[in-house]
């Protein structure tokens, strides 16, 4: 090998350094060893996980919290296939993640070599783009393309499959200053005609609502949205993933919309005469029954991904562009509106349909989360797993800062919450509360070792109901309470389990202990810790709009009559 040449593995690592990568979440294996070896000489922090799925969720949480791409390094075959769930999670929620996979040597491709899998084939449908690298000299170009694709436009995961002879071979290609991707165009500003058409509709509206989605978080549109909402006098609701773009303590913000959204946010959407989705794709958990969704309201859609237009909803105006730029361009075109009566209606909805829960009969998950909100939760990053606890967290933990709410929305991936918190805490240094269920936590709790090793400020709150609670709720409501595969009688003692990893823990069994324990966990600054809250086992999340139902069928509390099986997607 000549003087100034490098191995393919070194070329990969140098490319990562040029992209400003500070941390990699990785797991070793034969085909990836040359890349790991090249990392030995780098300042990039290598986080050794306990399962590749955990690596992908950590990278995802890192990316959502910091806005920088999360990077994963795994081996071929099973190492690569273990990333598939994480890739789906990142793809569905538009998160920039780069996954580097080792692969068998090129001459053995397609020959069922040891630990060979058709990884590009397997991941076509769960990546924004993927590459099989067959020439070490293409590494600088492909790495630059990969980071560009992952982080621009609608962000998403990009996977690189890299045969071992490539990472061991020689790369003499110099870094590129430019790349050309003729098929990849990212809209920036919306066109004037669309902006004017949108402004015209907004200016006619008397009962407008802005629906803020993840796109607003990603583009940092919150401040602009507040300016527009204030100028025009428009209330704001946010989607599950839109939490935090506009502070949920802001007077204009009605909180979360959709299946388990607040009654008042949903009432505002039901009664509006105009709804503008800002970086939201009208997910079926928001829209419910498509035909019955705001049938008489004008609909505007701001999205950086043109393929989202007319997919679920046929909007009156579609604005292709970056959410922040589009809103900034709309501000001068929109007049102060006559919405005084509407704003009054919305504040009366807030009183009429206030979130409520029972305070009797034992420790309630809602109470624990409500208290966490009051004693400092808003200064922390909140990540969640998937299930009832996720919805209660979304309702009761108000998010006040952009990128402080991290949850698997589109994929609804159980096992996401805890590793995502490791990633967010590592990336920001900010204390991250992982709100998890006893079911989902057990899917990735091997990462307790990773968290302990890193000493990151992750605080795990297990909402322990000894059930797959969300499943049990659906069985109670829609399956005559026939509980199949919902109870979890084999749960471990989570505090003792954590102790085995050297992780501090507390149990909460009574309401009276909630503040004290949460405060202790909040003040604990010697690495990760866990709070196991033994909550009422059979409690249900309300409000609830059954899947596929119109907003008018919202259940604000437990129904008195038997419900029909929901027709919506899931």
């Amino acid at each position: 090998m000549s003087e100034n040449s490098q191995t393919g593995g070194q070329a990969l690592v140098h490319a990562l350094e040029r992209e400003g990568v500070e941390a990699i979440f990785g797991y070793q294996g034969g085909a990836a060893m040359p890349i790991f070896d090249a990392l030995h000489d780098s300042n990039i922090k290598l986080v050794v996980v306990r399962h590749e799925q955990g690596a992908t969720h950590m990278a995802d949480g890192y990316a959502r919290a910091t806005g920088k791409p999360g990077v994963v390094l795994v081996t071929s075959g099973p190492g690569a296939t273990n990333t598939v769930t994480g890739l789906l999670t990142s793809l569905m929620d538009s998160v920039p993640v780069i996954v580097l996979c080792g692969q068998t040597i090129t001459s053995m491709l397609g020959k069922d070599a040891f630990q060979e899998a058709d990884v590009t084939g397997i991941t076509h449908a769960v990546t924004k783009h993927n590459y099989l690298i067959k020439d070490a000299n293409s590494i600088p170009r492909i790495m630059k393309e990969a980071f560009h694709i992952a982080t621009t436009g609608r962000p998403g995961p990009v996977l690189l499959d890299i045969p071992k002879n490539i990472t061991q071979g020689e790369c003499t290609a110099a870094p590129l200053s430019e790349i050309t991707l003729p098929g990849y165009n990212v809209p920036g500003r919306a066109i004037t005609e669309d902006l004017q058409a949108a402004a015209k509709l907004i200016n006619k509206s008397r009962r407008p609502v802005f629906m803020v989605g993840h796109g607003a978080v990603l583009s940092g549109a919150g401040e602009a949205i507040v300016r527009l909402a204030k100028k025009a006098g428009v209330p704001v609701v946010n989607t599950l993933l839109g939490k935090g773009a506009v502070s949920e303590t802001h007077e204009f913000n009605l909180g979360m919309v959709g299946m388990h959204g607040t009654g008042y946010a949903n009432k505002a959407v039901e009664n509006c005469d105009l709804i503008m989705a800002i970086g939201s794709r009208w997910d079926d958990r928001i829209v419910g029954n498509i035909e019955a969704f705001c049938p008489d309201a004008a609909k505007l859609h701001i999205d950086i991904d043109r393929a989202e237009f007319n997919k679920v909803i046929q909007p009156d105006v579609c604005l292709a562009g970056d959410a922040r730029l589009v809103i900034e361009d709309l501000i001068p075109l929109v007049d102060p509106l006559d919405t005084a009566a509407w704003l009054k209606d919305c504040s009366s909805y807030k009183k009429m349909y206030a979130l409520k829960y029972q305070k009797q009969g034992g420790l309630r998950a809602q109470y624990v989360l409500d208290r966490l909100d009051k004693i400092g939760g808003q200064d922390c990053i909140i990540t969640t797993d998937v299930g009832q606890h996720q919805m209660w967290a979304a309702q009761f933990l108000r998010t006040t800062k952009n990128r402080h709410w991290i949850s698997s929305g589109g994929a609804g991936t159980m096992g996401f919450g805890f590793p995502a918190a490791i990633g967010s805490a590592l990336g920001t240094g900010i204390s991250s509360w992982a709100i998890v269920g006893d079911g989902g936590f057990q899917m990735t709790l091997c990462e307790l070792a990773t968290a302990a090793e890193l000493g990151v400020p992750v605080k795990i709150l297990v909402i322990n109901n000894h059930f797959l609670g969300m499943i049990r709720q659906w069985q109670e409501l829609f399956f005559d309470n026939r509980l199949t595969a919902a109870p979890l009688p084999g749960n471990p003692d989570f505090v003792k389990l954590a102790a085995a990893y050297g992780v501090k823990g507390w149990n909460i069994k009574r309401m009276a202990d909630v503040d004290k324990v949460l405060q202790q966990a909040m003040d604990y600054n010697d690495g990760p810790c866990i709070v196991n809250a033994e909550v009422v086992q059979e409690d249900n999340v309300y409000p609830m709009i059954p899947a596929g139902a119109p907003y008018s069928e919202i259940l604000l509390e437990a129904p008195k009559t038997k419900l029909a099986k929901p027709t919506g997607s899931t």
């Binding site: 783009h129 003729p182 043109r306």
Partner: protein
């Protein structure tokens, strides 16, 4: 070739970067939405960096709008155009191997002549005809020949080009 007439037929032209995997990516956009590809032609573009795909497919129009947008979104797709109801010129080639005993040969050759099909293989028991033109013309000819014994049929699939200076 079975054509489901309950759904609309569409012809799409896709201009792609000549990268490995691009065919799979394009096919996945269709298959995920239950869209049936009737024919697919991939051919080199004017520079070797690019390729052209011409796809005929059937399905609902609203799904097709999604498909076009999703195709355009693929990193390796430079553009994707639905040519349904636009002004274009098209052609397709068919090779038809037909059993041609002496007592049927003249009749078969008359049909071939009518459709300007060329006999490209003249064998003791069979003929191979080469026919080109609009896909509908090929359909008619094949239908007519079906009263004899067609041994094999190979069709290239439709290719098209927008008229005037419009891009394909």
């Amino acid at each position: 070739m079975h054509i489901d007439t309950s759904k609309e037929m569409h012809t799409i032209s896709i201009f792609v970067r000549n990268e490995p995997g691009v065919l799979v990516r394009v096919a996945l956009v269709f298959s995920r939405r239950g869209y049936n590809i009737e024919s697919l032609v991939v051919s080199p573009g004017t520079s070797e960096e690019f390729s052209r795909m011409t796809i005929t497919c059937s399905g609902e129009a609203c799904t097709l709008e999604q498909i076009i947008l999703q195709l355009a979104k693929l990193v390796d797709v430079v553009h994707a155009i639905d040519h349904t109801n636009t002004n274009y010129t098209e052609t397709e080639v068919a090779l038809i191997k037909i059993r041609a005993p002496l007592d049927q040969r003249t009749a078969i050759l008359q049909i071939a002549e009518h459709y300007k099909a060329k006999v490209v293989d003249y064998a003791p028991e069979s003929l191979v005809l080469r026919l080109h033109g609009e896909s509908a013309k090929l359909d008619y000819c094949v239908d007519l020949l079906a009263q004899y014994e067609i041994l094999e049929l190979v069709r290239s699939g439709k290719i098209l080009m927008a008229r005037g200076v419009d891009p394909t």
